[in-house]
């Protein structure tokens, strides 16, 4: 056979490949088309089988033509595939997504707002080095009152309207303070604990719930004085209400502390100017506190001449109502409406 004829047929094949390629639109058809020409049984291989019949001197030239044709086909197929990939990429990038749809949200529950605030309070004291103590919610008169220096038949008992299980013996604890007594009886000195928990009083109005939450604090050691009480509570109030909040301590009375005080913060809404939240006073009462009464220490076998201590107690519900806007009644905390619980992030 004439080498030139083979070269001409080769050209016709490659031209045909190119013509047909331009009509192909899928990766698979391009790859099949390429295989039809370049595979072992493809049209080029069939033509190449004739190569052995050529005279030696023309083989080189024809061989080079074959190589060139193969390269051309391979490169044209590659270009077509690349163009196709580009086209697909462009189409993918053009896809429409409705970005306005809501997110597919993982469902995570909401911690109750009272728990959020309670843990915030406890965490501040734990970070200062206080431990946590818990106690029973049904208490004896002894721990709830007697050991806390509330004598029977004393008007101080009127300060806390009590829900009794058995009058004079057992009751729903009216404050977390009995945990002070239990802790001093159970744990070694020094004592530095906070005691969070539910407490109960016979009260029911938009700012008083018959069940509510308190956090009690107690520090008993040698050399503890009222200045320390102010220091610890100042630090706490600054942590919870902001470093710029002003605090003040007013003398007050609690049977189990002496001297006793109430701590106020400057109103967080009006900054002291006077508003509805603070009843125009510019100040908000936050907690009660004082130096542990010597009778209380002596009652648990701690020598008040050697050890002194301070205690404080604050209402979690009240702080939650100050922190979150829109809580018009303390009752909302105990209704557990899913919409209400859903308002509080953590």
């Amino acid at each position: 056979m004439d080498p030139q004829e083979i070269i001409a047929q080769l050209r016709a094949l490659t031209d045909g490949f190119e013509r047909q390629l331009s009509g192909l639109e899928s990766e698979q058809s391009i790859r099949e088309h390429q295989a039809a020409f370049l595979s072992k049984k493809g049209s080029l291989a069939q033509l190449q089988a004739l190569l052995g019949k050529l005279p030696q001197e023309s083989r080189k030239e024809v061989g080079a033509a074959f190589n060139e044709a193969k390269q051309r086909i391979a490169s044209q197929a590659h270009d077509a595939l690349t163009a196709l990939a580009k086209q697909a990429e462009a189409a993918y990038l053009q896809q429409y997504t409705d970005l306005s749809l809501p997110g597919r949200r993982p469902t995570i529950g909401h911690l109750h707002p009272l728990s959020i605030v309670l843990y915030d309070i406890v965490d501040v004291f734990v970070s200062m080095g206080f431990d946590v103590a818990l106690g029973p919610e049904i208490e004896t008169d002894l721990y709830n009152f007697e050991k806390l220096n509330f004598p029977a038949d004393h008007p101080a008992r009127d300060m806390q309207d009590t829900l009794f299980i058995e009058e004079g013996k057992t009751l729903l604890r009216t404050h977390t303070s009995p945990v002070q007594v239990r802790t001093m009886l159970q744990r070694p000195l020094p004592i530095q604990v906070v005691a969070p928990g539910a407490v109960y009083r016979r009260d029911d109005d938009p700012t008083h719930s018959p069940m509510f939450f308190q956090v009690e604090g107690l520090l008993v050691d040698k050399g503890v004085h009222f200045g320390h009480l102010k220091g610890v509570l100042d630090a706490f109030l600054h942590q919870v209400f902001g470093a710029d909040v002003t605090t003040r301590f007013r003398p007050s009375f609690f049977p189990f502390t002496e001297p006793s005080a109430e701590a106020d913060i400057q109103c967080i809404v009006c900054r002291g100017k006077g508003c509805r939240l603070c009843s125009q006073t510019g100040w908000i009462e936050i907690l009660g506190c004082g130096m542990v009464d010597p009778n209380v220490l002596a009652g648990v076998g701690i020598d008040p001449e050697v050890y002194t201590g301070f205690a404080f107690g604050l209402g979690v519900d009240r702080i939650a109502m100050l922190r979150y806007e829109g809580i018009t009644s303390i009752k909302l905390f105990y209704e557990n409406d899913p919409r209400f619980l859903g308002c509080f992030a953590r």
């Binding site: 109750h112 946590v132 919610e137 038949d153 008007p155 829900l163 016979r202 069940m211 007050s252 002496e258």
Partner: protein
């Protein structure tokens, strides 16, 4: 305690602006809850005189009155029956005044113009009288047209003090004036008293007193005034009482009330003629005795109640309430005024039991001043004669079985700095203590004895004196400092466990509930929690008196409330205590429980509507909670021991073989009895019992070689449990099987009616090599053959 600024400043002998005084009181420990200015509300209300009074032409009971307001004559229509004739002086609210919240404007009444209003005490809120207008008496000398606030001396500021139980001294104007002088570093000088005229037989000869119970009554004194005329008090006294929250009644009663407000000492006035004998005996009641009190009620008495008797007939319950039969009336001529000191706890017990609380019992309970008795009578008796006439019997009777002395309190000045962390000069301490009325005996360096006046029964220890010094000196002057906290071993496992349980359940998508610990007993009954419950003896709401024995009640109440508010998806948990009767212990048992309720649809997304929650959801929550809390595998097994659960969807939750709670669907009958739709799923576990099985986590060996999976689908009877098959596959598939996973449950076309298809996928993997098909096939076929034989399954 309500206090009058005008009265206080007059007693103290100096004045500071009302708000400043209020703040100073508050910072001294007497919290002023409110301060009300009386006066500005009387603008445009003046003294006027009736010029003429004629019947209204068209309306019966009305008069057309011309009044002179000092500058002009005005016509007003008045309906009061007591409207005076010409020359009578009245209180005129002119156009522009506000009376009872309504602004006075010109108007017509029955065709007659009225340009103002003649006012009653009640309309101006200056007294209780509402049936007639005020007719001003001759004691008022101000010219016509004088603003009424000035003419009747109405301007005042009323302090409302929240007096703590330790400060009975602050329940009187004397005590508050003394406090005011102390806080402003002024001497307190009681105002001098003009003695009453005296006549007749001496008090001591006219009346005898026997104290039968010296513990209950350490002192009983009385004064006798003869020839009084009972009638209304003058306006200024009535106005003062009104402002201080006490209803004016008659001169004698008003004076006893005014003396109480002035001195803090309750008095009781007996009609001397109505006593059976001129004799008073103080004794305990006898068994079965009773007394008819002032309010007309007959009160049964106990042997612990203290009585005032005359000729053995009870005439008053000591310190609580007087008797009906010896009450002051308009006819009273001779009056015996009691001034006594009763034991506080005795008065309190009786007043609490009888639910009779009065201004008097309130003060006796807190402790009046036993040494102030003569001084109080010195004030009361001349007040009576000056307003009601008559003359005092000379002297008083004063029985005091044992002498009463001021408390002597040892005090170390250095202790102040120990407690307060702040030094106070000794001279300042002396000034404050003397300002309280105490006297100081310095016995040695740092050893004083402070004699505390009996006005301050709360001060009996060194610490009480430190508190007084601190509050008067000012807590704001104590510098804040931080204590050195010790490093201690935490003991807060329960607190931490509760918090962890909450975190796990939040991440399971449940919201936290906090509900009341007391519930209706009927709610517990409806849930078949029939054990005896701990009950509140004096519940706020008689229906909610049972301490919960399960947390499910509260959660179901939350669900019911949510349903009534049109919410149909619900996922909540609660961690809290349940309470259980324990007769053997001092207190009931309290168990920390964790419970949850699911209802409605799982959360969905547009186009991917969530299916309804079913048993597997609640089971999943229990599994995740238990395993996250303990690291141990939880088992759920059908139970018939939870009657509040659907009998076919009730499981007990076990961990390492120990039951820690229940999970399932709430029994539809329980829900029906709570008027709730069926379908709520629930669990409740004993948190500490669960956590007792806490295991230390151990890491599994991890293979890098490829896994091979083999699937098998069995045809099983419809009521056959799936997971035992999975467990059996795992057990029989040899050491190379790392997991068995149920991936399809199918019933329907291609499967017989009473069968279901269960498709499991078993994953095989080796730690040290890539597995071959042959060894995996061998293991798998072996497992499938064994399991299908064991459970009589055919392979689909």
């Amino acid at each position: 305690m309500l206090a009058s600024y005008q009265w206080l400043t007059a007693l103290a002998g100096f004045s500071v602006p009302p708000q400043e005084l209020a703040d100073r009181f508050t910072f001294g420990g007497l919290e002023v809850d409110s301060l009300v200015h009386r006066g500005p509300e009387f603008a445009h209300i003046v003294l006027a005189e009736v010029v003429s009074k004629e019947a209204h032409p068209r309306r019966e009971n009305l008069h057309v009155v011309q009044v002179n307001d000092g500058t002009s004559s005005l016509q007003v229509v008045c309906g009061a029956g007591n409207c005076p004739g010409p020359g009578g002086r009245v209180v005129l609210a002119k156009v522009g005044a506000t009376v009872g919240g309504i602004e006075i404007a010109p108007r017509e009444l029955g065709g007659v113009a009225s340009t103002g209003m003649l006012c009653s005490e009640a309309e101006l809120s200056i007294g209780p009288e509402k049936d007639g207008i005020i007719v001003v008496d001759d004691a008022v000398t101000a010219p016509l047209g004088t603003p009424i606030a000035e003419a009747l001396a109405l301007e005042d500021w009323i302090f409302e003090l929240g007096v703590t139980p330790n400060r009975p001294d602050a329940l009187s104007h004397w005590g508050l004036a003394r406090e005011m002088c102390l806080l402003y570093e002024r001497p307190f000088v009681p105002e001098p008293v003009v003695p009453a005229p005296v006549d007749g037989i001496a008090c001591g000869d006219a009346v005898s007193i026997v104290i039968d119970d010296a513990e209950g009554c350490p002192r009983y004194a009385a004064a006798l005034v003869r020839g009084v005329t009972v009638g209304p008090s003058p306006f200024d006294l009535r106005y003062r009482l009104h402002c201080l929250g006490i209803r004016p009644i008659s001169n004698l009663v008003d004076i006893t009330n005014a003396v109480l407000l002035l001195t803090g000492q309750p008095l009781h006035a007996f009609d001397f003629a109505k006593l059976s004998a001129p004799q008073i005996e103080v004794r305990r009641a006898r068994k079965g005795e009773s007394i008819k009190t002032l309010d007309g009620e007959t009160r049964a008495l106990l042997e612990t109640d203290l009585l005032i008797c005359s000729d053995d007939v009870p005439v008053a319950i000591a310190g609580v309430m007087g008797g009906f039969d010896s009450e002051i009336s308009d006819e009273t001529r001779d009056v015996l005024i009691e001034c006594a000191y009763f034991q506080p706890s005795s008065v309190r017990r009786t007043s609490k039991r009888l639910k009779l609380s009065s201004e008097a019992s309130y003060r006796f309970e807190r402790g009046v001043d036993p040494l102030g008795v003569p001084q109080v009578l010195d004030v009361a008796v001349p007040w009576v004669t000056s307003l009601a006439g008559g003359a005092a019997a000379p002297g008083v009777v004063d029985a005091m079985p044992a002498p009463i002395a001021p408390a002597a309190v040892p005090f170390r000045p250095s202790r102040f700095a120990t407690i307060m962390g702040h030094a106070l000069p000794e001279a300042e301490m002396q000034r404050i203590l003397q300002g309280l009325g105490a006297t100081i005996a310095v016995q040695a360096d740092d050893a004083w004895v402070v004699h505390v006046p009996t006005t301050r029964p709360d001060i009996g220890r060194e610490i009480d004196l430190i508190e007084e010094l601190a509050r008067v000196h000012g807590l704001d002057k104590v510098p804040a400092s931080l204590p050195r906290l010790q490093s201690i071993t935490p003991q807060r496992r329960e607190f931490d466990l509760i918090r962890r349980a909450k975190e796990v359940l939040l991440s399971c998508g449940l919201d936290e509930s906090i509900s009341y610990s007391f519930v209706p007993a009927s709610l517990l009954k409806a849930l078949h929690h029939n054990a005896q419950v701990v009950r509140i003896a004096n519940p706020l709401n008689a229906e909610r008196d049972a301490m919960r024995t399960t947390l499910l009640g509260g959660l179901l109440e939350n669900l019911k409330r949510a349903q009534s508010r049109y919410m149909h998806r619900f996922a909540q948990f609660e961690v809290g205590r349940s309470f259980h009767v324990n007769e053997a212990a001092e207190l009931p048992d309290e168990i920390v429980r964790v419970a949850g309720v699911l209802f409605g649809h799982r959360p969905g997304w547009p186009g991917e509507q969530g299916d309804a929650y079913d048993f597997s959801d609640i089971r999943g929550v229990v599994e995740v909670l238990s395993e996250r809390m303990t690291g141990a595998v939880v088992q759920l097994a059908p139970t018939s021991e939870a009657p509040w659960l659907h009998p076919g969807r009730a499981c007990e939750v076990r961990i390492q073989g120990v039951r820690v709670g229940f999970a399932g669907e709430v029994h539809p009958e329980c829900l029906a009895s709570l008027k709730m739709p069926r379908g709520a799923l629930c669990f409740e576990l004993d948190l500490l019992a669960l956590a007792a099985h806490e295991a230390t986590p151990r890491a599994l060996p991890l293979s890098d070689y490829p896994p091979m999976t083999r699937d098998v689908a069995f045809l099983a009877d419809n009521d056959l449990d799936a997971m035992p098959i999975a467990e059996a596959l795992q057990q029989n598939a040899g050491p190379l099987a790392v997991s068995v996973h149920l991936f399809d449950v199918y019933a329907g076309q291609g499967v017989a009616n009473d069968k279901k298809s269960l498709a499991f996928s078993v994953q095989y993997r080796a730690m040290d090599r890539t597995l071959t098909d042959a060894e995996v096939d061998a293991a798998h076929q072996q497992a499938v053959a064994t399991v299908s034989a064991q459970f009589s399954l055919s392979i689909r």
